[in-house]
Symmetry: C2
Subunit: 168 residues, 2 copies
DNA sequence: AGCGCTGTGCATAACATGAATGCAGCTACC
DNA sequence: GGTAGCTGCATTCATGTTATGCACAGCGCT
């Protein structure tokens, strides 16, 4: 969350409400835009850490707004973020927890869990396909996000098969 | 985190320290075991919500311990968790954020980011292979976790190729 | 004397959601 | 023409979850 705001502010100074709109516009419908409240909280923290600074702007016939701009330290933090590679996928997986823990307590057996989960993944896959279908083909960013989600989902489905083989 | 503790307590009552050890033992080295402090915080909340209840147990030559056991409400919550399917992979992806936001600010270009990220993923893949190699073959749970991580990683690598095609 | 294990608790912070607040402009309706 | 209610702009606050790290305390071992 923090780096996203820094990146947007690097392009041009903005206030909270504007940032929310920018995020919604850049990442289309495929992306659940973060809560507006969280944006303000994060901006406050960034200011506390000296990465951004706020200027109050009075507006006629509008509530005042606080326009944030990047400081030198903020610019540095942003560069550092861009430089370091992003961490890979977590090994932690909630469904797998369920798969291991549930039978220990006699809740339900593994086959039931796996089959239900597979149906769920397949339904999600259908949703993604449908979402891709009604997305503006010019919006390459949204389409790539959807494609990424589908690749991950397929990996999960393959993994489900492996679990079924190994744990049966 | 909450459901994991509930599941373990469904098998048998236990105190915080024991739960930490159980988690470490069940999910082998492949799984970053959660912080012990967090376990106590979560147990406190579960108790506040009436899902578990604690009994103080005095021990000779040992600090006292609080043994938690499941309540009827806790059992219900656990069953509900087992019944609902687990959510799929998030569309939210940090690297993708970087890929979209970075060029807007003149930080660095996309090819550099993608190539660096690919090197990083490949290194992670090597690490996972190495980890799989030194994992006890009898520990099927750990091996499956590692395999799942590798499948996800491969999906990320494929996705990187797609991004490179589309955004160049 | 110091290290490591057992066992718990608290401080801090990030992250997320939801609701509340205030003001302005527009529309609908009697 | 007045007013009631909705929408858009802009921010703040209360609450809850997750995660890390440090502090504390007693005991056994070397």
């Amino acid at each position: 969350m923090r780096p996203f705001l820094l990146a947007l502010l690097a392009k041009e100074p903005a206030h909270g409400y504007e940032l929310k709109q920018a995020l919604e516009q850049i990442f289309g419908s495929a992306y659940p835009s973060p809560n507006i409240g969280q944006i303000y909280v994060t901006l406050g923290r960034l200011e506390k850490d000296g990465l951004v600074r706020a200027v109050d702007v009075e507006q006629p016939n509008r509530p005042n707004k606080k326009v944030y701009h990047l400081t030198a330290a903020g610019r540095e933090a942003l560069d550092a973020w861009a430089d370091e590679p992003t961490e890979g996928p977590r090994v932690r997986d909630e469904f797998f927890m369920k798969l291991v823990l549930a039978p220990m307590t006699g809740i339900s057996d593994r086959m039931t869990l796996i089959n239900r989960q597979r149906r769920h993944y397949l339904a999600l896959m259908r949703d993604l396909n449908e979402l891709a279908g009604r997305t503006d083909p010019a919006d390459r960013v949204a389409l790539l996000l959807i494609e990424g989600a589908m690749l991950h989902l397929q990996a999960d489905l393959d993994w489900l098969d492996r679990c079924q083989e190994d744990l049966s």
